[in-house]
């Protein structure tokens, strides 16, 4: 019987090695797999490239991972925000590479990786600093830039409910980048707020079919909230 649930966070993150590309879901703190991020810090892999919308806030989660010196590069749309103190320090000190990608391009590059599309064109960034070095092309009289698929070794995703087959649903605005990152990595690890029996999730409403998911670890909502709060304290 297929069963993608693993015993604990350490099992869920096994195989993550130095130098890998790790996608981390969430937007703001919603849908962010905090327990997996903590586990990644404990695991100790270094020289990581992180793909996420933000570059962390405070000294928890992604910021803590960066502060621990594990991140070589971050690919994100919104690095500098209220509370992005760790990012600022490291970036100013030249200890962190940064690739700024407009949010829609970031989402589409991730989806492209999942969909077997190596490159696509978008009008976003045309005529701006962020188009520097990008190839451009005209379709129907309008200029677009070429963007390439963004793949990952591992995606860390938070879902609301999952089943043993790996099917996921998300909750409200917790869906965000999680559902696209789940498609784009060689190994997709889901931090689930709860397991249900196969067949319980509505077949019409499954957002991430199990085919995209490799491992699931259950972290109840309350436990995840405690991690976030403990970090913030």
């Amino acid at each position: 019987m297929i069963n993608k649930e693993v015993r604990d966070i350490a099992d869920a993150l096994s195989g993550i090695e130095d130098g890998q590309v790790v996608m981390v879901g969430g937007f703001g703190s919603v849908g962010q797999p905090d327990a997996l991020i903590e586990g990644l810090i404990e695991r100790g892999a270094r020289d990581l490239t992180i793909v996420a919308n933000n570059a962390g806030a405070g000294r928890i989660g992604l910021a803590k991972l960066m502060e621990a010196g594990r991140v070589r590069k971050i690919i994100c749309s919104f690095p500098r925000s209220a509370g992005s103190v760790v990012f600022e320090e490291l970036f100013r000190a030249g200890k962190l590479e940064l690739e700024i990608v407009p949010q829609g391009t970031l989402a589409e590059r991730i989806r492209a990786a999942g969909a077997g599309i190596p490159g696509f064109y978008t009008a976003t960034t045309v005529g701006t600093l962020l188009a520097r070095g990008k190839e451009s092309r005209v379709f129907d009289g309008r200029t677009y830039v070429l963007e390439q698929a963004l793949h990952a070794d591992v995606a860390l995703v938070e879902a609301w409910r999952t089943d043993r087959m790996g099917n996921c649903i998300y909750r409200e605005s917790g869906r965000n980048f999680n559902a696209v990152m789940a498609m784009a990595a060689r190994t997709t690890v889901v931090q689930s707020c709860g397991m249900v029996a196969a067949g319980v999730l509505d077949s019409e409403a499954i957002v991430t079919p199990g085919i995209f998911v490799d491992r699931i670890v259950v972290v109840p909502e309350t436990a995840n909230a405690r991690i976030a709060e403990a970090g913030a304290a």
């Binding site: 937007f27 703001g28 919603v30 849908g31 749309s77 919104f78 690095p79 500098r80 925000s81 990012f87 600022e88 970036f91 940064l98 700024i100 990608v101 407009p102 949010q103 829609g104 391009t105 970031l106 989402a107 589409e108 991730i110 989806r111 978008t122 009008a123 976003t124 960034t125 045309v126 005529g127 701006t128 600093l129 962020l130 998300y170 909750r171 409200e172 605005s173 917790g174 869906r175 965000n176 980048f177 999680n178 559902a179 696209v180 957002v207 909230a225």
Partner: protein
Amino acid sequence: MIAYKSLSRKDLAARIARDIPEGWYVNLGIGIPTLVADAIPAGREVILHSENGILGFGPAPAPDAIDPWLINAGKQHVTLNPGGSFFHHADSFAIIRGGHLDLCVLGAFEVAANGDLANWATSAQDSAPAVGGAMDLAVGTPRVWVATEHTTRDGAPKLVERCAYPLTAPGVVNRVYTNLAVIDVRDGHFVVTEMVAGLTRDALQAQTGVELMFEVPEYA
């Protein structure tokens, strides 16, 4: 000098809201644009889109009714109106980039008479500015309105001949709502269509970095 009263941020938001018809799909940026949500006249259905995967979000919840899973792109707690829906980030930006929204209202550091918008980076030397969804919105949405104070806190004009700040997108702004005036962008010119009571053309021009055209009568 003739007396005039510039609009408060709240009144500016209300002024913008007045121009949004029922049935439009609208994305509101951070800052003054966010205030537009609360200013839409009661009973007029305008559907708000948020980059993080929401259509049809509603006003902030009561403090004791906050749903931690439901935030907008500005990371504020919101509610969901009946008929609202959730989707993932790629679908959310398919909506934006695909031109499906009717309108986005954005803040700005500078707007140029040719419609250029600068609202993300404060200098070309800033190597870590946060672009977020601003470029996608500016490029993808058929109508881009800017909501801004007419000048910076230091009194420097924000409506200029050419933007000095790095562009968010070239030639995209259709209209600017400031605390002093409503100004269309047409064929490379700013055209003033409305001014606050008591303001003179000269006084508005004096606070603007490029020559204005006027479709409003001089103060009389």
